[in-house]
Symmetry: D2
Subunit: 105 residues, 4 copies
Amino acid sequence: MRAFTDERDWAKFHDPKSLILALVGEVGELAELFQWLPADEAAQKVSSDPLRRRVGEEMADVLAYLVRLADILDIDLAEVARQKLENSAERFPPADFRGEAPEKI
Amino acid sequence: MRAFTDERDWAKFHDPKSLILALVGEVGELAELFQWLPADEAAQKVSSDPLRRRVGEEMADVLAYLVRLADILDIDLAEVARQKLENSAERFPPADFRGEAPEKI
Amino acid sequence: MRAFTDERDWAKFHDPKSLILALVGEVGELAELFQWLPADEAAQKVSSDPLRRRVGEEMADVLAYLVRLADILDIDLAEVARQKLENSAERFPPADFRGEAPEKI
Amino acid sequence: MRAFTDERDWAKFHDPKSLILALVGEVGELAELFQWLPADEAAQKVSSDPLRRRVGEEMADVLAYLVRLADILDIDLAEVARQKLENSAERFPPADFRGEAPEKI
């Protein structure tokens, strides 16, 4: 994403708030692909093309902007993700939360 | 995320629409950290803790749900991201788009 | 919202991109209240307090920022909503779309 | 929205989680219209057509799904919005918050 951006001189557009709005745009496109699918059939319905391909493309766009945001903020996304998951694992002991959905991880 | 989920028997909550709503929740928390920051000072203001740590945590949560969604849909997120970026590179030749923001990648 | 904002001298924070990020934050909070609820039980589960009250508060916040955005852009939200619904009614004749979900209104 | 929905037999698609995903889709489209605009020029750039018309249409779609969600949940959106604004007015006394952005209203 950094090379892709620099080759087009698009870095000037990539301040944090603009990148988050772009991320929101891609999350919105992902949501639109699922919005009217029955909840219990959604996974099956997107298991074949063309829907499967479109879902993958929107997920790719979400990741692209998330990675780009991490880049301009000099945040090691993989590292913070590992740390956050470790923290969540401690906050939600399996013995105490088995089968019970917490409000958020 | 798969192990974290299975150890807590949370897979039953992870249908696509529920995971996208969870992703939206985390994107919302990320947006709230930036909403009132001046656009041209945002990157600098989140360059130090505690804001930097909080931004990293919210970005980690967004990635966690995106990766989990990819897992249940059996989509290779890294691979589709590489393919999408290649496609975008072809759709937006540097010579034609230098310095001009396209509506979306 | 205009009076509420002016009384606190908050108008300086209300540029369009900031307000949309604030709107995204509230939509995220609304999504979090529903994310793990079974799709077919969600409406019933939020039909009583305290969840019903919390859902109403988040919906109120989404509306507040949408109305504030319309105010700073001098857009008559009620009027554009009426026009858009009329356009959608023409684009989706009941006879042609009965029972079939379009990708979007 | 209720009449528009019933005339097309679309009520069966309008469970809360699906409507929130549809709302997210429209918020995403609104975000995309602003994402690359300079923060301090955004309001001016959307002050004339065709951008002004498109922004109004996306805001109308956001309101349409918000109103529809309120309808299926039997929530008086205007009333909860008035109550929430009154509560926010009490939580943020002008004398204490003048010119200082709170994290959220």
